[in-house]
């Protein structure tokens, strides 16, 4: 059995949907962050797969993924920092309570 692109893409899609579902339904910001990471990784897989199968000679997809991972790490750090600050301010991390900016 030859392993085609679709074998990678379907798990990536499932991962992405899980992430999306989690992002929409979870109220806890940490959980939302984890869901976000899930979605990012799904996209990363897609990049790598497309690069590997469609443009085997090139490396752009790989680099893009590496960049995305690096940025995701930075972003996570930032998000955690924000969440900690939010927690200090309102003593919980429920996203429903964070509507101050609209005023």
């Amino acid at each position: 059995m030859e392993i085609t692109m679709i074998y990678y893409l379907i798990p990536a899609l499932i991962m992405f949907c899980c992430g999306l579902y989690g992002f929409i339904t979870r109220r806890n910001m940490i959980a939302m962050l984890i869901s976000l990471e899930l979605m990012l990784n799904a996209v990363d897989i897609n990049f790598v797969v497309f690069n590997r199968y469609l443009y085997p000679g090139n490396m752009e997809g790989m680099f893009f993924t590496l960049f995305a991972i690096a940025i995701a790490a930075a972003e996570t750090a930032l998000a955690i920092a924000i969440i900690i600050n939010v927690f200090r301010k309102i003593k919980n991390v429920d996203v429903e309570d964070l509507t101050k900016l609209k005023d």
Binding site: L20, F23, I24, T25, M32, V95, E96, L98, T99, K100, L101, K102
Partner: protein, 669 residues
């Protein structure tokens, strides 16, 4: 002739204005007065020299055989409007401007001299703002001189506005007094309104003729003149009458365009010369210091309207309708003002109404003048009367000023019986009254007689009407005279010293002017000032019948006044009770002021300005604010969408993305 004198005549008063106005406060009152008077004295000498040269030198620049010419001493471009039309500032010498130079500088000098005494109190303390007063007097003299020597109608308009402004400044000289402030405002606005007509008249005239120059407008020659405005290319080269040929009949609402222009220009003259119904500012203008009233509101500025009509007389001749309007306005005003003058209490008001009436005489005289009758006698008579009137009315005003200065009040009720206390004032005032009443041999007799003669040439009705006014003039002037100097003994109040004649600076001008008023009638005016510059014999047109009749009427008026007012008696009171309605209307000047107050305050302010201001604030601005309000409200309305709930946004985003995907798919398939 060198243009040096003419330039200096204008430059010296202007310089004195700037000098006294800017530096006046650094100099003493005395020096300001001396400098101002000296400046005017130099101007007087220069003006006399210029006039003398013009009339008597016989140089071909000024006279061609027997015909006097218009001579332009200088003419500089002031504003180029387009190729053909230029506004120039210049100096035109012709009979009437030379005469006006003499009149203005004489009266102005007298007033400068007189004010040295008048503008301080009995202890010799100078009035506050004395330097300013002299500065304004100089400004006025400059503007008035500029007006009379104007080479073009626009220069006249420029100086016309300037005399208006200096009149405003001088009427409002006592600026802390509310009545003076409102009087000055009224004078300016009423004359401004009249000037609007003047301006539009100028615009029409200049559009059709393409020139502002008086010489171009008036010296084409009598027969030629009639054609200038009636589409004839051959007559006037300087006139760009192509516009007339383009539209064959320049008629507008039943009258020719020229008539409209002339009537509108006359409206300007009506404003300045206080003709009915634009006369209401002049009586109030008496709030100014009395020398100012003598200079501006009796002798010089108020005759500017007469001067204007005289200046454009050849044009007026072409349109008999406009001359008829001049006559009618003049005749009505003369009678009206004489009626009102009969009952006023304030002596300056009496003189003011008398001025209005006399100027109306001049207007009528111009209105009835025609080359067919006694070679345009009316024109000469009008200018003659202007000359003599300036002298004797200035005399009367300065005399009144001396009285007011001595008594401290404007009302004759505070005077009475002053003849013993102020003999010089008494005699000079009497001479002025005799002159204005038209008693031989004082100057007024001659000029008024010429006017009545020319009225007779127009129509008997005009003649009778004006004779009646002349009788009234004699009556009210002598009523005033008797009420001031006779009636009853003067009561000297406790603690006040008795009134007495004023210092020489004040009496000298009175004496000089009285002397001029005695002899001015014998000037052979016909030799100097005629409508077309042709000299003619004065006495040839003297109508002894008219003279006798008018003399009789004057004597009648004086006699009536003597009976009623020489000694304290109940007759005036009885007369008043006999005709209470008439008396009340005359006393309130036929309620013209109330009418104007109604129009300005109730209609212009109440029904136009306030609604407009309201409209602006509430409708126009309301619309703008309303737009801002609606935007604001709309923003608030859609603000709910930005709930701040992140997961809701994601839902919306997701649905949107899905929808887009579906649509794309559908489109692709």
């Amino acid at each position: 002739m060198e243009p040096l004198f003419p330039i200096l005549i204008l430059a010296i008063p202007l310089f004195m204005f700037l000098f006294l106005g800017l530096l006046g406060k650094y100099m003493s009152h005395k020096w300001a007065g001396i400098l101002g008077t000296a400046g005017m004295g130099v101007t007087l000498i220069l003006a006399y020299c210029t006039a003398f040269t013009y009339f008597f030198s016989g140089s071909p620049e000024f006279i061609d055989g027997t015909q006097r010419l218009q001579y332009v001493a200088f003419n500089v471009d002031w504003l180029q409007l387009y190729d053909q039309l230029v506004i120039r500032i210049g100096f035109l010498l012709d009979p009437i401007s030379a005469m006006m130079l003499v009149v203005i500088t004489t009266i102005s000098f007298m007033v400068h001299l007189y004010s040295n005494g008048y503008m301080r109190d009995h202890h010799g303390v100078w009035e506050k703002g004395f330097q300013r007063f002299y500065a304004f007097l100089s400004l006025f003299s400059f503007s008035m001189l500029g007006l009379v020597v104007a080479t073009n109608i626009f220069q006249m308009y420029i100086f016309w506005e300037l005399v208006g402004a200096s009149s405003y400044l001088l009427i409002g000289f006592y600026y802390t007094k509310p009545s003076a402030v409102s009087a000055s405002k009224k004078a300016f606005i009423v004359t401004r309104f009249a000037d609007l007509g003047f301006l539009i008249g100028i615009l029409i005239l200049s559009y059709y003729t393409g020139t502002f120059n008086f010489t171009d407008l008036t010296s084409v020659g009598v027969e030629g003149m009639t054609d200038v405005f009636k589409v004839d290319l051959s007559t006037a080269e300087s006139i760009k009458d192509l516009k007339f040929t383009a539209s064959a009949a320049p008629m507008f609402m039943g009258a020719s365009v020229l008539t409209w222009a002339l009537v509108l220009i006359f409206m300007g003259g009506m404003g300045k010369s206080a003709m009915m119904p634009l006369h209401i500012w002049l009586p109030d203008a008496m709030e100014g210091p009395t020398p100012v009233s003598a200079l501006i509101h009796a002798a010089t500025m108020v005759v500017a309207g007469v001067f204007l009509v005289a200046r454009l007389f050849p044009l007026y001749l072409m349109e008999p309708t406009s001359l008829t309007i001049v006559t009618v306005v003049g005749a009505i005003t003369a009678f009206y003002a004489a009626m009102v003058a009969c009952v006023q209490v304030d002596i300056k008001r009496v003189l003011a109404f008398s001025t209005i009436s006399q100027i109306a005489f001049m207007m009528v005289s111009l209105g009835v003048a025609s080359p067919d009758f006694h070679e345009g006698l009316g024109y000469m008579a009008s200018m003659f009367h202007l000359f003599t009137h300036a002298m004797f009315k200035a005399l009367l005003f300065l005399g009144a000023g001396a009285l007011i200065h001595a008594i401290g009040s404007n009302d004759y009720t505070d005077m009475h019986g002053l003849r013993k206390y102020m003999p010089v004032t008494h005699i000079t005032f009497l001479i002025g009254c005799l002159a204005i009443a038209g008693i031989i041999p004082f100057s007024g007799f001659f000029s008024k007689d010429e006017i009545l003669s020319s009225c007779l040439g127009n129509s008997t009705i005009t003649y009778l009407w004006m004779s009646m006014v002349a009788g009234l003039t004699a009556f009210y002037m002598f009523r005033l005279y008797y009420l001031i100097f006779w009636w009853k003994e003067h009561k000297v109040h406790e603690g006040h010293h008795a009134p007495h004649d004023q210092p020489w600076t004040m009496t000298l001008p009175l004496v000089i002017l009285a002397a001029v008023s005695c002899v001015a009638g014998f000037i052979p005016f016909g030799d100097f000032v005629t409508w077309n510059g042709e000299a003619y014999d004065f006495m040839a047109h003297f109508d002894w019948n008219v003279a006798t009749v008018s003399l009789c009427i004057a004597v009648l008026g004086i006699g009536l006044a003597t009976i009623m007012y020489r000694k304290e008696n109940p007759w005036p009171q009885r007369m008043r009770q006999l005709l209470p309605g008439l008396w009340r209307w005359c006393y309130h000047r036929f309620y013209f002021d109330e009418l104007y107050m109604f129009i300005t305050h109730k209609i212009i302010f109440g029904c136009v300005s306030r609604p407009i201001a309201w409209f602006d604030r509430h409708i126009i601005d309301g619309t703008m604010d309303g737009m801002a309000y609606v935007t604001n409200k709309a923003a608030y309305a859609i603000r709910g969408l930005q709930s701040g709930k992140v997961q809701l946004y994601v839902w919306v985003y997701l649905i949107g993305a899905l929808l887009l995907g579906v649509i794309t798919a559908v489109c692709l398939i």
